[in-house]
């Protein structure tokens, strides 16, 4: 067996993990599985692409990387815009269901409808043809032990690590982080403690959307950009969030890396055509053996 699957798996796992953090955050605060979350990944990638395409400069490769300084700027802009998109959709759709106390599952159906509409809108505007940030070719560098990775791939692993640490610090060390945890545990008591729950919900959408956009830009840089890129990640996202323990941020990133590694291993041993089934297999095993996930607490 070739150990290269470890590098491939960690890279795919980083993107899944970043997306899964958003799924787990939305779930912890709003208590429903958002089927539209994958679309934030695709929208993030296309929004960044739109910025890069609109500005005629700044994409001359820097150092060993395949892109110029405009990409990070475009990524930040895309993160903000995708966060805004998530807030907009909440305002248009989910907020009304919350107000009238609809069952969780109505929100899930609505998110399913929103997912289709968002994805098809991308397909309508950009067509289903794959596109790329850059056409630069990259040579994979040997890392020792027979492993190889491109400079872009290593950079993206680093960026993921920074983002995950930043989210962790946000949740544990800041006022808004405490408020998010408080709302997650008990929304009524949080209101009584003076927490503006609507503001917390907006923050969660914005954060989830921005992280998804980050995953989308990474996927666009390392793989390709297509309207289905987010939807195809949806099952791995859910599998990662549930595997890690729903509500747990470290669990989401850990679950993401594990799902990514399993996928890469399956590609090597079973065949690339079965990659998409890995998420389902993991999901089934987790629900069968440990429904609360690795880091989750059992229901009391």
């Amino acid at each position: 067996m070739n150990a290269q699957f470890i590098v491939d798996g960690l890279i795919a796992g980083s993107m899944i993990g970043l997306g899964a953090i958003g799924v787990t955050l939305t779930y912890a605060i709003l208590r429903f599985a958002n089927f539209a979350h994958g679309e934030f990944i695709a929208w993030g990638a296309y929004l960044a692409l739109a910025v890069v395409a609109a500005v005629p400069f700044g994409m001359v490769p820097i150092g060993p990387f395949s892109f110029g300084w405009m990409l990070p700027i475009a990524a930040i802009a895309a993160a903000l815009l995708t966060g805004g998109l998530a807030i907009l959709i909440d305002w248009l759709l989910f907020a009304s269901f919350r107000r009238r106390g609809s069952a969780t599952i109505i929100m899930v159906i609505a998110s399913f409808g929103a997912s289709l509409a968002l994805r098809s809108l991308l397909e309508f505007v950009f067509t289903s043809k794959p596109v790329y940030f850059t056409r630069e070719l990259q040579i994979a560098m040997p890392l020792g032990g027979g492993l190889r990775a491109t400079p872009d791939q290593l950079l993206m692993l680093g960026v993921t690590a920074i983002l995950v640490i930043a989210v962790h610090l946000l949740l544990t060390r800041t006022a808004i982080g405490r408020q998010m945890r408080a709302v997650s545990e008990n929304p009524v008591l949080a209101r009584l403690a003076g927490v503006d729950v609507r503001r917390v919900i907006r923050t969660v959408w914005c954060l989830g959307g921005a992280l998804a956009a980050g995953a989308g830009v990474m996927a666009g840089l390392l793989v390709q950009i297509r309207p289905y890129m987010g939807f195809d990640l949806l099952l791995p996202l859910f599998a990662a969030a549930i595997l890690g323990g729903i509500g747990s941020v470290p669990g989401a990133i850990l679950g993401g890396l594990l799902v990514g590694l399993c996928e890469a291993l399956a590609v090597q041993t079973v065949g690339a055509e079965w990659r998409a089934a890995v998420g389902f297999v993991i999901l089934t095993l987790v629900l069968l053996l440990r429904p609360q996930g690795i880091l989750g607490k059992a229901a009391t």
């Binding site: 006022a175 405490r178 408020q179 945890r181 408080a182 997650s184 545990e185 008990n186 009524v188 008591l189 949080a190 209101r191 009584l192 403690a193 003076g194 927490v195 503006d196 729950v197």
Partner: protein
């Protein structure tokens, strides 16, 4: 006495409230609670005590009537704004964040204070409750029942409220702890904070409260000094629903 102090800490006029629009549980309550008072709200099960205080705290929809806090109208204000206005509410159960540490619980509540005052208020709470100061990084979920109630009270008191409303703080506590909790409330009241207490434990509540209000079927059926009410034979009748026997009405 200044003009601000002259207005009651909490006043309720013709309050009608309930979860469903066509099913009022609180059926027209008028009440005025003076600054610094310690009021026990008593009454049989289903009298609407809990709904009454939850409506004041912004957790149950108000259908009609008005609520004022130290002369300021607060009817229908969202719960998170009521805290800022000076009304703190301690629910009966799940009144602390179990997944947050003691310190995080206090910091969270301090968020409504001006930035410069937060650490000072937290320190004041630790002075008042040395038990909590001993273990600030313990998750609140690991605390005993009495300590939880202490933390819940500290959380409410931290924001320097005009009025603290507590919904059955003695529920589920041992008699010894009930004594401790009520002793703490008496200390808080001695600091000048108005306290409104909903209680099933009539004797313990009348032991600390200054004023008593008895509710039955969503209305006030008696209002008067707490002292001596426990021995008053009319109290039993009020609990059994003989409204006509009520004395001085609010």
């Amino acid at each position: 006495m200044s003009v601000a102090e002259a207005s009651p800490a909490l006043a309720v006029e013709a309050l009608v409230a309930g979860y469903e629009p066509d099913l009022p549980i609180v059926k027209g309550i008028d009440a005025s609670i003076g600054q610094g008072d310690f009021v026990a709200i008593l009454g049989p099960n289903g009298a609407g005590k809990s709904t009454f205080v939850k409506a004041i705290a912004g957790l149950v929809p108000i259908h009609a009537g008005a609520v004022t806090l130290a002369g300021r109208p607060i009817t229908g204000l969202a719960a998170h704004l009521l805290v800022r206005a000076g009304l703190a509410f301690v629910p009966q159960t799940e009144n602390i964040f179990a997944s947050l540490t003691i310190d995080e619980n206090l910091k969270l509540c301090a968020g409504v204070m001006p930035a410069g005052k937060r650490s000072e208020r937290i320190a004041a709470m630790y002075d008042l409750f040395p038990d909590l100061a001993a273990r600030p990084t313990t998750p609140a979920g690991a605390l005993s029942g009495g300590q939880r109630q202490m933390l819940a009270t500290a959380r409410a008191l931290l924001v320097e409220p005009t009025v603290i409303i507590l919904d059955e703080p003695s529920a589920g506590l041992s008699p010894k702890l009930v004594g401790e909790v009520f002793e703490t409330l008496a200390r808080v009241n001695a600091l000048g904070v108005t306290i409104v207490l909903v209680e099933q434990n009539v004797r313990a509540a009348l032991g600390v409260a200054r004023t008593a209000m008895v509710l039955a079927d969503g209305r006030i059926v008696h209002r008067g000094p707490a002292k001596g009410l426990a021995e008053d034979p009319r109290l039993g009748e009020m609990f059994l629903g003989h409204h006509a026997a009520a004395g001085e009405t609010a």
